[in-house]
Symmetry: C2
Subunit: 180 residues, 2 copies
Amino acid sequence: MIDVKTLCLGVLSRGDASGYEIRKEFEEGPLSHFSDAGFGSIYPSLKRLLDDGQITMLPHNGDGRPDKKLYRITPSGRHALYQALIKPPSADKLRSDLMFILSFGHLLPPRHLDRIIGDRISDYRHLIATLEVEGSTAHRTPGERFVEGMGLALYRAVATYLEEHRHELVAAALMESQVA
Amino acid sequence: MIDVKTLCLGVLSRGDASGYEIRKEFEEGPLSHFSDAGFGSIYPSLKRLLDDGQITMLPHNGDGRPDKKLYRITPSGRHALYQALIKPPSADKLRSDLMFILSFGHLLPPRHLDRIIGDRISDYRHLIATLEVEGSTAHRTPGERFVEGMGLALYRAVATYLEEHRHELVAAALMESQVA
DNA sequence: TCGTTATATATCGTACCGATGCATCACTTG
DNA sequence: CAAGTGATGCATCGGTACGATATATAACGA
């Protein structure tokens, strides 16, 4: 798996940013669908990237705010990023608490089961609606559009599957609960 | 996110198993699509579960093999599992190196781009074919069938999207490389 | 003016992941 | 039959990452 240092280099390759802004990118931007990093990983990474000379810290023009450190990628950093990008990508990884839980569906109260599935469906439907609006307004590179499209396709597939098979699972749980 | 201790309890709730067999479950079984755990997490977890009295170690009948420790879940362990299962599930998480790389598609050689996408498509197509055979033979609980179906639906969505949009991205990269 | 949200940096403990080491058994291949 | 290969099985260790938390200021509506 690509490490957080490389993820940060990726964000900085698009323009200068602070640690906070990098975080936001993983929370909201097109990269958010398939990458993630929290402060606890970003700040140590930036420190190490500085030490390695792959980024530099811009001198903050002392006038207004003393905080906010802006970082800029160096040629060495771009090279490191490129090297990481052309390495064969490792397999995709999906982690889902919900799916783990549902695989034990027969042990759970049918009503509860129905509720958590319903909740998740509306989560995804909201997310999809948001992305559909954003996608038409924000302008993106071809790569970003591709990735965002993949995210949308995946979310739709999940929501649709949940909608179409929800009742099967709940019905099975109901049978189970009547036996017990 | 659900921790590895709980994941182990989940596997053991279906029957006694060794650490190695638990690992296999996350590598091949229906749980493999949305959960994961390696030896480095499983063995320490089993140790802690033993200490907490949520599992017991079966006495290996000393005849043949001295290795292979079999573990069995206790009532206390089943309770802990249930408590974890009824907690509201955290959001799904997708991690994909490939998508990160493709979001920088315009920086990469078009031929390379085309190759890694093609490779991934055939990976998924093979996986899908395997699952389609397995799904009809192996017998599963309703929950397991549900989760396996979701896995299949997702893999199909990914493969289809890659196939349908591959050329767009490669074309954009080609334009870019001709400008530079 | 007061509470809440957003901006912003940073650390600390824990959990986790990947790599590695070791040993045995079964199977196959020369 | 020997030798190698791959599966079974246990275990640890170092590095990395995650989640929670602390702190402080700016902005903004009630």
